[in-house]
Symmetry: C2
Subunit: 330 residues, 2 copies
């Protein structure tokens, strides 16, 4: 059984890959266990892709952009997987068909694999499942992986921590289109692409590009030694798309040469280990029956300032029996 | 005993306040317990200050700035407490004298209380202790609290989450002086003060101000509805210091009127509860003897990509006996 999955993935069988990602996304213990066994087996075949995060507010033309850049990537004879991370958007409500429809050309491209995330998952879970999905896609031979987020929630930081390159899509007309983008995201971007820079939008897009270039000069230089780029493009006319791919290649060369690429991957692995531990500890804690029962009232006390957070935390930890015994401060 | 501390704090006795903060900063269980009891008792008297985070890279003139703004605050007949948060700087190596020396005037001001953080604390601990110190200072009647960080590490996010207003100090000459400031900090600032704007620096400071004004237009509007301000000042000549205090008052009025001020305080309380729970869960977990012994080798495996983070996390959780029994996924 495990072997069938492993063989299917390693032979790049899209159907088996999808089935395995479904296992990864499952909440059933037996599915999770099976998925983990498969993951352990394919691990030596992972890590060989370029992982690219693509984010932007709704209306920025993300699907069209991903289609345009994706088709260019596959024209380079590279295998591309597109994963979406978004616990709240309309695309993630289980509508795989919806995602395939919005990326029509790409979904019929033999070199491309499109996988929307399952609906209703919590953020930590989405992050976890997406990281595992990345590994599975890599084992299936995908050389480029796009991780798409909608750019309005907390998922960008999570995605930023699992990719090599982070691309932020904006519209011409500086300022307004950032309304939906969470603070701090701008400073995370390795490349900022101002989309829809076609027709009468063109001069506006160039002005926006100039404004952001000025702003980015004020930002701290990244540890990667990469100076974030601001470009205009049109996913519709494909203007600038090939250049964006070139820039991503330049980033890869630079950071592989200066060692940042691998160092960052290693750090991501290690952070991920500790995040998983934290996620599991918190899950166990808050699912503890006594804690779950007491929590709402305690949270209200703290919200209203009637109880100090520190004493509330102590109270919660004390009522959660199994943790208490292990508390070194006692 | 508890009563003596409580009475001392409520009567604004600086010596007792310092002794209590020392208890808060202690790692001895009996000190922690005593500190908690004191904190619980004084809690009804907390929350009435304006909490201001002040950050900036070394060399930006932070001490002089804090002296200048602090003296202005006390001239308004307001009682001011200055707390430093910085697990790594030279100021925090237990040298209370050092801090008092670098803020000479303020330390002799009867309305001011200066307290550097204890040396060697871990970040989570510093955050925890500083929040408790804020509450103690409030109970002692301090109406304005400065929380100072050095601006180069992770402490800014921690401090940002415990204050009402976040002020970032920079030097004239855009760009370079941000070298030491962590990414994302810029977008957190409610006010950016370009210090040392005196003499021949003045025109350069105005240019820097202009550059940052342009950049800040591209940022997302804050939930507070406050448009972050960029100002020039000179802590040395006190130019601009009174204006900065006015702006902070404007921020307070605006956000108290639109409800953001209290909403943010409540959210901070609640986040803090969950952070404390997490901090304690992780501490217990990583101090578990089996986990502590196995961790270094497992971390290496994960760093090198030889083991998936997910299986490593599972392995660690399984060997930590008390947690295992509570794991709902089993």
């Amino acid at each position: 059984m495990v072997r069938d999955y492993v063989n299917g993935i390693l032979s790049s069988d899209k159907f088996i890959l999808s089935k395995t990602i479904t296992l990864v996304e499952s909440t059933l213990p037996k599915d999770i266990k099976l998925a983990q066994e498969v993951l352990d087996k394919v691990l030596p075949h992972t890590g060989n892709s370029l992982r690219i995060g693509i984010t932007g507010a709704p209306g920025v033309g993300k699907s069209t952009f991903i289609e345009a850049l994706g088709n260019w990537v596959t024209k380079q004879k590279l295998k591309l997987a597109v994963l979406t991370v978004d616990p709240s958007s309309q695309y993630s409500k289980g509508s795989i068909l919806g995602d395939k429809t919005r990326m029509g050309k790409l979904s019929h491209n033999a070199l491309a694999y499109i996988r929307p995330s399952a609906a209703g998952s919590v953020l930590g879970g989405v992050g976890q499942k997406t990281r595992e999905s990345i590994l599975l896609c890599e084992a299936a031979g995908y050389e480029v992986i796009f991780v798409e987020t909608v750019g309005v929630g907390q998922s960008e930081t999570v995605v930023h921590d699992m990719v090599d390159f982070f691309l932020l899509l904006l519209l011409p007309g500086a300022g307004d289109e950032l309304q939906g983008i969470k603070k701090g995201i701008l400073e995370m971007a390795d490349l900022l692409a101002i989309n829809k820079a076609e027709g009468e939008n063109e001069s506006n897009a160039l002005k926006t590009k100039h404004d952001f270039e000025q702003a980015f000069r004020l930002f701290q230089k990244a540890e990667s030694n990469w100076q974030p780029l601001i470009v205009t493009c049109s996913a519709l006319t494909e203007m600038g798309i090939a250049d964006i791919w070139d820039y991503i290649q330049q980033y890869k060369s630079l950071t592989q040469l200066n060692g940042y690429f691998n160092r960052r991957r290693q750090q991501q692995n290690l952070s991920w280990l500790h995040e998983l531990v934290r996620y599991n500890l918190e899950k166990s804690f808050y699912q503890n029956a006594t804690v779950a029962q007491a929590l709402p009232a305690i949270e209200q006390e703290v919200l209203q300032g009637r109880q100090a957070a520190i004493s509330a935390a102590r109270q919660l930890i004390e009522i959660s029996e199994p943790f208490k015994r292990n508390d070194p401060t006692r």
